[in-house]
Amino acid sequence: MADLFSQIQYYLGFTFVQRALIAGILISLCAALLGVSLVLKRYSMIGDGLSHVGFGATAIAAVLNLTDASLYVSIPIVVISAFFLLRINENTKIKGDAAIGIISSGALAVGTVIISFTNGLNTDVCNYLFGSPLTMTKSDVYLSVALSIVVLLLFVLFYNKIFAVTFDESFMKATGLRANLYNTVIAVLTAVTIVLGMKVMGALLISALIIFPAVSSMRVCKSFLAVTVSSAVIAVVCFIIGLAVSCVYVSPAGYTLPTGATIVIINIVVFLVLSAVKKITTLKKK
């Protein structure tokens, strides 16, 4: 046990681990908070769609030789597609899931084709698909920290409205409130969170940060506030444990574990445990 602690201490000495830890905690927090609303609004897969757009945008940045500043390219593009996704849902015959499917697979295809114009599929691309929090640069971390703090602040300020627009959009509109404005707020905050989260979790796994904490806490919590707070806690705890395990544990084949995937697996474990807790408590009541 003491050995484990000293090992963790050893890893915390590295700046890249510190960076991953700080940025990762903040991003998991944002994703978990927004996730509650997205899951309840049946928009869970929006994370998937937008992260693939983020992948496409990163590919474009690579072609334009802007790899170091890729966040500055992908954030605006993803925010715009988030708007676009909402519009599709409201006004057209293509409904939510299909719209997300079109955008997500379309953007992935475009991104993959664009990458072949540069140097083909390499580790960089692999990092974008599966995440690599340990390769975040200093400026990535600063931007992530700044933007996640903005997301968190806006979430707190709009909390009551986000609740209302999640629970009952038409009541909100009918009583003279601008529900579409608050939907847009959710979409923009989600877009920003996803682009930042891609660095940590990768385009293919970022949805997990949005969905798992929310569904896990919905197993046991009875109010929106409790669900929100507990999913924030679950997200942060799972991130820290996942990062620690992926740093410390070495597989029998001699490799460390991929961080993003390890975090998702910890989330799955928490989900299963809380589902079991719910089963047991409902059985007891009967």
Binding site: D168, L225, V227
Partner: protein, 235 residues
């Protein structure tokens, strides 16, 4: 004094005109029931009054100091709400949002939510989770939320759908009390015509080929009323 008046109103739903050239007005203190068969456009008409659906012709006028932010609305339950993790208190409070200035609820608004929960007899459920409540309790919660949003007018969309007869009667009594004692104007969509007759002073009957608007007495004497009320008694 008239609160809402509709002139030659037409509303379309999914490209199909469901309400055609309809004129009626709702006065302060009225209890208007909108009845008619399924698909006759009752809910669509209500949504157009609420500004949720665009009208395709004619106009809806609010008067007598009525604004959109003073409408209380009891919608039909949505799929999303059935497994929604929210406490009763959170839902009722959210009705106050159209009055809040800042990002958070003030003491006054919290007091109003508490008052309305007391009025509807759901104070003891305050901390309970919405999805665990019975159908009648859920309707009371949504009604309390609607009361937080309004002092003047309540629009109720099928408030007793899916409730058992005892709970239905309780809810009708409650709506009647809000209309008679608390002086709230009520517009209610229902397909329970006998129940509506008890609450309403005016009936708006929508039908695919024409409509009726008038007092309950006039309705009973009209061909519309004879047909539907007679049908109700026999069936």
């Amino acid at each position: 004094m008239s609160l809402i008046s509709c002139k030659n109103l037409s509303v379309a739903y999914d490209g199909k005109t469901v309400v055609n050239n309809l004129s009626f007005s709702v006065d302060e203190g009225d209890a208007v029931c909108i009845v008619g068969e399924n698909g006759s456009g009752k809910t669509t008409l209500m949504k157009s009054l609420l500004g949720l659906v665009k009208t395709s012709g004619g106009c809806i006028e609010f008067s007598g100091g009525l604004f959109q932010s003073e409408i209380g609305y009891l919608p039909q339950q949505t799929e999303v709400q059935k497994d929604f993790p929210a406490s009763v208190n959170e839902i009722v409070l959210s009705g106050c949002l159209n009055k809040t200035k800042g990002p958070f609820f003030s003491k006054k608004e919290k007091a109003k939510a508490a008052y309305n929960m007391e009025l509807l007899g759901i104070t003891h459920l305050k901390k309970r989770c919405y999805q665990e409540l019975s159908g009648g309790q859920q309707q009371r919660v949504l009604l309390a939320r609607a009361l937080c949003a309004t002092k003047k007018i309540l629009l109720l969309d099928e408030p007793v759908a899916g409730l058992d007869p005892i709970v239905t009667a309780e809810l009708y009594d409650l709506i009647k009390k809000l209309n008679r004692e608390d002086k709230l104007t009520v517009i209610m969509v229902s397909h329970d015509i006998p129940g509506s007759m008890d609450i309403a002073n005016k009936i708006l009957h929508l039908n695919h080929n024409g409509s009726f608007f008038g007092t309950t007495d006039e309705y009973e004497k009209s061909d519309f009323g004879k047909h539907f009320l007679g049908g109700g008694a026999n069936g």
